[in-house]
C-alpha cells in the first residue's frame, strides 16, 4: 500500500493541474452551444436554388482533353451557376491536398477566383448583417482550420462576433466559418487535447505522457479506495485519529 500511496501522490503532482483543465474543458463541451462552437452563428442554411440547363453544357470530353490529366470532373454550383471542377490531384478528404481547375460549364472558360467572386461566395454563405471588411489569401497551415491543406481565402465580416468565412481558393468550396464563439471553443479544445501546437489532433507527445500518468493515478486511486473499503474506513470518517493508526499497521 505504501507504494500505491506514493505513486498516487506523485502522479497527482504531475497530472493534477491537467486533470482540473480536462474537467473544466469537458464541462464546457457539455454546456456549450454546438452551433456557436462550430462557428455557424451566421451560416446561411438556405441552399441557393440551381437549375442545370444540360443543353448549354460544354462537352465534358472536350474540356478534359484541353486540360492536363484529371482524376475527375465534377459539376459544382457557385452562386447557382454550374462549373466543371477538374481534379488533377486528389486526396482522401476534402481538406487533403488537391489540385483543381475550375471551368465555366457553359462557356468552357477557365475561371480563377478573384476577390469579387470570393466576396460574393462568402456573402452567399453568410446570414449576418455585417459588411465585408477584409480579404486575405492564406496558405496552410490555417489556424482556424488546421487540417485544411489547400490555399484558402479568409473573408472577414465586420459584425458583433467578427465572423470569418473561409473559401477554398481553387474550388470555391466553403471550408467553414469562424468567429469569436468558435475561437473560444477552440481554446477549450486546445486545453483538453493539450494541442498547444495547433495541429488539430490529440495524438501528441505531451498528451501521451499525461495519459500514461493519469492511468497510474486512477489505478492507484481505485486500488486505494478498495483498500479503504475493505478495511471499513468509510464508516469511521468522523474519527480520523483511529483511521490513521489503522493505516499504519500493514
Amino acid at each position: 500500500m505504501r507504494w500505491v500511496r506514493k505513486l498516487h501522490k506523485w502522479a497527482s503532482v504531475i497530472v493534477g493541474i491537467q486533470f482540473v483543465l480536462w474537467l473544466a474543458s469537458g464541462l464546457y463541451f457539455n454546456l456549450m452551444d454546438h452551433t456557436k462552437a462550430a462557428g455557424l452563428s451566421y451560416f446561411n442554411q438556405d441552399m441557393v436554388q440551381h437549375q442545370l440547363d444540360a443543353t448549354q453544357l460544354i462537352e465534358p470530353k472536350a474540356v478534359l482533353e484541353q486540360h492536363s490529366d484529371s482524376m475527375a470532373l465534377d459539376t459544382v454550383f457557385l452562386l447557382a451557376k454550374p462549373y466543371y471542377l477538374l481534379s488533377h490531384q486528389q486526396g482522401l478528404y476534402a481538406h487533403s491536398y488537391h489540385e483543381y481547375t475550375l471551368v465555366d460549364a457553359y462557356s468552357g472558360e477557365v475561371v480563377t477566383l478573384d476577390e469579387a467572386l470570393v466576396t460574393r461566395l462568402a456573402q452567399a454563405s453568410y446570414s449576418g448583417e455585417g459588411k465585408v471588411a477584409e480579404l486575405k489569401l492564406l496558405t496552410p497551415p490555417i489556424s482556424d482550420f488546421p487540417k485544411q491543406q489547400n490555399p484558402t481565402w479568409q473573408v472577414s465580416f465586420a459584425d458583433d462576433i467578427n465572423t470569418e468565412v473561409y473559401v477554398e481558393a481553387q474550388s470555391g468550396r466553403i471550408v467553414g466559418h469562424s468567429d469569436e464563439h468558435k475561437k473560444l471553443a477552440d481554446i477549450f479544445f486546445m486545453l483538453h487535447f493539450m494541442d498547444y501546437n495547433n495541429q488539430g489532433s490529440f495524438n501528441n507527445v505531451p498528451m501521451m505522457l499525461m495519459a500514461f500518468f493519469s492511468l497510474w493515478l486512477t489505478i492507484t486511486g481505485c486500488y486505494w479506495c478498495i483498500d479503504l473499503l475493505r478495511k471499513g474506513k468509510y464508516r469511521h470518517k468522523r474519527r480520523p485519529r483511529i483511521k490513521t493508526t489503522a493505516i499504519k499497521l500493514p
Binding site: 501522490k9 497527482s12 454546456l31 478534359l64 482524376m71 495524438n203 501521451m208 479506495c225 470518517k237
Partner: protein, 246 residues
C-alpha cells in the same frame, strides 16, 4: 482544510473513482491510437486513376437524349473505366446512375461481383474477402444511413476490416475496422453517452463532471498540503507523524 479536503476527496472518489478510471482508460486509448489509423486511412488507396477522354465515345448529347432531367453530371473512373455519374432531377428513379462513358451502358445498381471488385481495388491489405452483404435498411452504427443501399465487404485480415461500397454510385462510402469500433465505444464511455454516441451534452455527464471537478480540486488541495507545504513542515514533525496524518 487539509482534513476536510481529504474526507471530501475520499468520499467523492468512492463514487466517482470508477468513472475516473473509465476516463483515463478510454482517453488513453484515443490518445495512443493514431486518429488517421482509426479512420482507416491506411486501409484504402487514394485512387489516382486518370479519366481517359479518348474512351469517351458516348457523348453529352446522347446522355441528354436518354436522360432529359439531368441535375448534375460528373466524370471519373470506376475500376479504371471512365464513367459518367448522373444525378437526375426529382420525379425520376433511380436518382443516381453510373454510365459507361465508352458505351453508354448503365453500370448501377452494382452487382455483388462488381462491388467486391471495387472493394478489392481500394483495399490495401492482403486478406481475402470473407463476407459480402447488401445492406438496404437498418445499417450498422458504423455506416451512415444516407449511404444506403450499400454493399458491405468484409475482409479476413487483422482488425476485421469492412469496406462499404454504395450500390447506387459505386463510391467507397465507408472503411472500418475493429480499432474504429473500439474507438467508438471508448468515446461513448468517455462522454458517458450510453444511447447514441452523439450527445456530449447529456445531464449525466454534467453532474458527474461537476462532482469530479470537486474530487480533482480537493485532490489538488491534498497535493498542496502533502507535497509543497510538507517541504516546510518536514523539519518540525517526525516522519512517523507525517505518515500518520496521511
Amino acid at each position: 482544510m487539509h482534513k476536510t479536503a481529504r474526507t471530501l476527496h475520499q468520499w467523492l472518489m468512492l463514487f466517482l473513482g470508477l468513472q475516473f478510471a473509465i476516463w483515463s482508460v478510454t482517453g488513453a486509448y484515443m490518445v495512443y491510437m493514431d486518429i488517421d489509423f482509426i479512420h482507416g486511412d491506411d486501409l484504402v488507396i487514394t485512387p489516382q486513376s486518370k479519366v481517359q477522354p479518348a474512351q469517351m465515345n458516348y457523348s453529352l448529347q446522347q446522355l441528354i437524349q436518354a436522360y432529359p432531367h439531368i441535375d448534375k453530371i460528373s466524370v471519373d473512373t470506376l475500376l479504371g473505366e471512365t464513367v459518367y455519374r448522373l444525378t437526375l432531377a426529382d420525379g425520376e428513379s433511380p436518382k443516381k446512375l453510373v454510365i459507361s462513358a465508352n458505351s453508354g451502358q448503365v453500370l448501377t445498381p452494382l452487382s455483388e461481383s462488381t462491388a467486391v471488385s471495387v472493394a478489392q481495388y481500394f483495399y490495401t491489405g492482403k486478406g481475402d474477402v470473407a463476407e459480402v452483404t447488401l445492406i438496404t435498411d437498418n445499417p450498422p452504427f458504423e455506416l451512415s444511413p444516407r449511404h444506403l443501399p450499400a454493399w458491405r465487404v468484409n475482409f479476413d485480415d487483422f482488425g476485421s476490416p469492412s469496406l462499404y461500397v454504395s450500390a447506387h454510385t459505386g463510391i467507397l462510402v465507408g472503411k472500418r475496422h475493429e480499432f474504429w469500433r473500439w474507438f467508438d465505444w471508448m468515446f461513448r464511455f468517455h462522454i458517458m453517452d450510453y444511447s447514441s454516441g452523439e450527445d456530449i451534452d447529456n445531464a449525466l455527464l454534467f453532474w458527474v463532471a461537476l462532482l469530479a471537478s470537486g474530487g480533482a480540486l480537493t485532490g489538488m488541495v491534498l497535493v498542496y498540503f502533502r507535497v509543497f507545504k510538507g517541504q516546510f513542515t518536514r523539519r518540525k514533525k517526525s516522519r512517523v507523524q507525517r505518515v500518520g496524518v496521511a
